[in-house]
């Protein structure tokens, strides 16, 4: 346990107020120290294009998002909604077509041939599949010590810190001498997390970190991530298609549809009373393990082809409450009932933006 504790205690007290936080408060961040007023990670107007058969496909279309220290921001949506693209763009794995990503005041530059600049070492990613993200031919201790050595630490420091970090993620120090294949999926994900912690990060981006794991390991890893955020005063972006886990651990949740955020707010607020029709559909589709035998509600249709997005509100072809203007006019996020949503019907904006202006 040698995480930078700093204001850890203060933040633990504040966790009690987590679920009451609205999106507005989230954007400004609660102030518990001078540096806490500044979000650790800030995305403004981020757009990412993919090339597909000579076509430009906009995978991420003008997304704004902030992550504070000690805060977990959940990112949910169907596959193809751009949540993984957002995660990758946030750490510089995807070049941006527009907008900026700022980490601790520095602009995040896309990954190139050269090594990442030192100030980006505090921004780390946890990948989905711990079977692929760990080098099978190197011992666990070496994998973790790499992060320390890259930061200028000696080999001895690396080994010492590897033992500490293994302890931090709930593995015995003896694990350092084993190879990744000797561990289960949940244990491997712990190792992968220990490795990201070696650089003493202030922000973690976790892309579906528990999706490849067993039910009981999922709960363990979700709890571990949650504890790290509390103790280490980290910011965490948690991408997951498992809505119930996001609900359980995230402070704020951003719901994405076809490259845009359609609803963002405090997790409790959004879940208790989703306002965007898409969020409503997502919540209604979660099957409940209550033995009542109620089938979850279907949302007909698939996510449209991002190369050819629908006009106006992108959700309108699947939306049960769509009106004429939804087909024609684009909508931006507007505050309503303690969160922000992009919906003409539920949150009519004074000046709607014409389609294509984003």
């Amino acid at each position: 346990m040698s995480e930078p504790k700093g204001r850890g205690a203060a933040w633990t007290e504040e966790r009690g107020a987590r679920n009451e936080r609205t999106s507005d408060e989230g954007r400004l961040r609660l102030k518990s120290g001078p540096e806490a007023s500044e979000p650790v990670l800030k995305l403004s107007g981020v757009a990412v294009d993919y090339g597909r058969r000579g076509q430009r496909v906009r995978a991420l279309d003008g997304v704004d998002l902030t992550v504070g220290r000690g805060e977990i921001v959940g990112l949910v949506g169907e596959s193809g909604c751009g949540k993984s693209t957002l995660a990758r763009a946030a750490v510089g794995l995807e070049p941006l077509e527009a907008g900026t990503v700022t980490f601790e005041g520095h602009e995040v530059t896309p990954l190139g041939r050269r090594r990442r600049p030192g100030f980006l070492r505090g921004l780390q990613m946890v990948f989905q599949d711990p079977y692929e993200s760990l080098n099978p031919r190197r011992k666990v201790g070496e994998l973790i010590a790499d992060g320390v050595r890259l930061g200028g630490g000696s080999r001895a420091e690396g080994d010492k810190r590897a033992a500490e970090l293994l302890d931090r993620v709930g593995l015995p120090a003896s694990a350092a001498d084993s190879y990744p294949h000797e561990f289960s999926g949940g244990q491997r994900q712990r190792i992968a997390i220990a490795r990201t912690l070696a650089t003493r990060p202030s922000c973690l981006i976790a892309d579906e970190p528990i999706s490849a794991l067993d039910a009981s390991a999922q709960a363990q890893i979700a709890n571990l991530l949650s504890e790290l955020v509390d103790d280490g005063d980290l910011g965490l972006v948690l991408v997951s298609h498992d809505l119930s886990v996001v609900r359980q651990v995230a402070d704020r949740v951003a719901v994405m549809y076809l490259g845009r955020i359609v609803e963002i707010g405090g997790t409790g607020t959004v879940w208790a009373s989703p306002r965007h029709p898409y969020t409503e559909a997502l919540v209604a589709a979660i099957p409940r393990a209550d033995g009542a035998g109620v089938l979850p509600t279907d949302l007909p249709g698939d996510v449209p082809d991002p190369a050819n997005p629908p006009s106006g509100c992108r959700f309108h072809p699947r939306c049960p409450i769509a009106q004429d203007r939804c087909r024609e006019l684009d909508q931006k996020l507007a505050p309503v009932a303690g969160r922000e949503i992009a919906c003409h019907v539920r949150a009519p904006a004074p000046e709607p933006v014409a389609d294509g202006a984003a």
């Binding site: 596959s79 879940w271 393990a289 209550d290 035998g293 109620v294 698939d302």
Partner: protein
């Protein structure tokens, strides 16, 4: 009531470096016609090996003992040729990964009609029109066009619908769905679960759903069997098992799930089951769950619990039964 599928004392032993190890150990269950039954458990609990044993598709060298009777026919004694007449025709499988289940460079139409022509002996034209109707049943838009398309041209949810259509092609009486929605989004999952339930009702088809997701079970299965380390831990009506679990492992699986109620009560932590499931060949003596069980007693480490009836159609393999009072 005569069960469509009767599995009795099924044991599957797999060859490992340390000799044969039991992946499924003395498992018994039945499935009625037109019923959806669930098998739950973590990876390594033997759910998938159980499914594969129904099809005679176990890994090379596997030893099967016990009995698997489908409508009176003993499947474990059939030859390869006899099994081929049953696979697809009587029992069909939908796997977790529709991308692997569908051939990438054969048109969907060919894959759908293959079963029909082999098992039902219908003409090519007749098979094609049946295939189009099947795609319509699983709600694929523009079936005629889809028949000429390839798997890669569809989204994950659509592929799983197509894989289900392929499984249904020869009108099987039992569909085994192994984690059918694990790789899918919740919205798509909801659609697939509704589809399976509709097919069960409309066709009187029996369905075995295998999943670690108790939410999925709760939505679809009438009865549930919870497996741990290749053995039956608890089985019974879904509402009873999930509402008043008697086995500490069932309880643990439920506690590991995020609960809206717990969140509202201020408990933001999930309650994981400590430790991890035993790997093949390292199954503890006595009750296989005892090293992870918070209620374990000394006797749990030595005597092997057998599933015994504790209520109407409710089997429990936990002699101390610590949760009896709670239920």
């Amino acid at each position: 009531m005569n069960a469509l599928l009767q599995v009795e004392g099924l044991t599957v032993a797999l060859p490992t470096r340390s000799g044969y190890q039991k992946a499924v150990d003395d498992l018994s269950f039945t499935v009625d016609a037109g019923e959806m039954m669930g098998i739950a458990g973590e990876s390594g609990s033997g759910k998938t090996m159980t499914a594969l044993s129904l099809f005679g598709l176990l890994p090379h060298g596997a030893r099967v003992t016990g009995s698997i009777r489908l409508d009176g026919t003993e499947l474990t004694r059939l030859t390869g040729k006899q099994l081929r007449a049953i696979r697809g025709r009587q029992i069909a499988m939908v796997s977790q990964d529709p991308t692997a289940a569908l051939h990438p460079i054969l048109p969907i139409g060919t894959q759908l009609t293959e079963h029909m022509r082999y098992h039902l002996g219908v003409s090519k034209a007749e098979a094609m029109s049946r295939a189009a109707a099947l795609l319509e049943t699983v709600r694929i838009p523009d079936p005629e066009q889809a028949l000429r398309s390839y798997a890669g041209q569809f989204s994950g949810g659509m592929r799983q619908r197509i894989a289900i259509a392929v499984a249904l092609a020869a009108e099987p009486r039992l569909l085994v769905a192994d984690e059918p929605t694990t790789a899918l989004d919740v919205t798509v999952q909801a659609g697939i679960l509704r589809l399976l339930d509709r097919l069960r009702r409309e066709r009187g088809m029996a369905v075995i759903v295998i999943t670690h997701d108790l939410g999925v079970m709760s939505a679809t299965a009438r009865r549930l069997a919870v497996m741990y380390a290749g053995r039956l831990a608890e089985a019974g009506p879904t509402a009873e098992l999930l509402g008043r679990p008697r086995h500490p492992y069932t309880r643990g699986l439920l506690d590991a799930l995020p609960h809206p109620e717990a969140l509202e009560a201020g408990g933001a932590r999930l309650v994981p089951i400590g430790g991890s499931p035993p790997s093949l060949g390292r199954v503890p003596d006595g009750c296989p769950f005892h090293p992870r069980c918070t209620y374990a007693q000394p006797s749990c480490a030595t005597s092997r619990p057998e599933p015994i009836p504790v209520a109407e159609a409710h089997l429990l393999a936990c002699p101390p039964d610590p949760l009896r009072a709670a239920s």
